[in-house]
Symmetry: C2
Subunit: 168 residues, 2 copies
């Protein structure tokens, strides 16, 4: 059965961390809604234009089965806006599938809900997660129940496989 | 007496958080050495070209009286390189003047030395610092002994005043 997947993203996302997982999720038959500050277009670190389907103002977490947070410099900008923090918090608090790669977990730190979770992230964010109470594993993909995290672009194949399996 | 000030920076720094404090420090008669991954030029978020005087490979903390870390997306890239973390750690551990604005304190988290310090930073980094054990104040400039921190571009005048006073 097709699942509804929310992807939160803004400018300076790490391009392939958006494009490749989204392609894999769609190829597995699920629906992706790309959510940003406002409808329109944002641009990745390497110039990829990404269409924002819906503004964060116009979505509710209950409309989605899963959340995906790509990395790069996008998550740090999203966490400056409490609406993205609240949106993310619902997925973690209700134990809905939450997947993120690279800097994506920065957005989770602001929810206060990473304490005690087993996770990974980009190298630079690992101490932030550690101090926030997460247990860090330096693996290509770390699966803690409905929380799936990866470190960096080279982990994308393992990440996609885990996410697609979890959505099935 | 002129002080030697190290500034650590790379691409996507918040332009004015580099240019304006550097101008103020030089205007007060001090010497600035801009340090990056390698000699050459980097580019700020808004296109400012910044000359890197020295590679991190060619400097020692003991050659400097103070360290300044501008913000933007520069500090998160610097903290991926242990040489910048070790460089920063010496200033904090030896209680030398350490000043940073916006995302700059991200680089300090990796040193393990923010615990118990009173600081501020850009909004998004405040929880990271809190979890790392710092006490956060939401003020334009926070002075804790030789540690001076500010939040964002609008705090630059107060930041510059504090840094120039501390260098005097």
């Amino acid at each position: 059965m097709a699942k509804e997947v929310a992807v939160v993203v803004t400018d300076l996302v790490e391009d392939v961390e958006y494009t490749e997982p989204v392609e894999a999720i769609k190829a597995a038959g699920h629906n992706v809604t790309t959510i940003g500050f406002e409808e329109g277009t944002v641009e990745g670190k390497h110039g990829t234009k990404i269409t924002i389907d819906k503004s964060i103002a116009d979505v509710k977490p209950e409309d989605f089965d899963a959340l995906f947070i790509p990395g790069g410099f996008s998550p740090d900008q999203l966490r400056a806006d409490q609406r993205f923090v609240d949106f993310t918090k619902v997925f973690l608090a209700k134990n809905k599938l939450t997947a993120s790669i690279c800097h994506g977990p920065q957005l989770m730190i602001q929810t206060g809900l990473v304490h005690g979770r087993t996770m990974t992230s980009y190298l630079t964010v690992q101490p932030d997660l550690y101090y926030a109470g997460a247990r860090i594993e330096d693996e290509s993909v770390v699966i803690d129940g409905n929380l799936i995290t990866s470190r960096e672009p080279k982990d994308i194949p393992a990440f996609n496989e885990a996410v697609v399996k979890a959505l099935a």
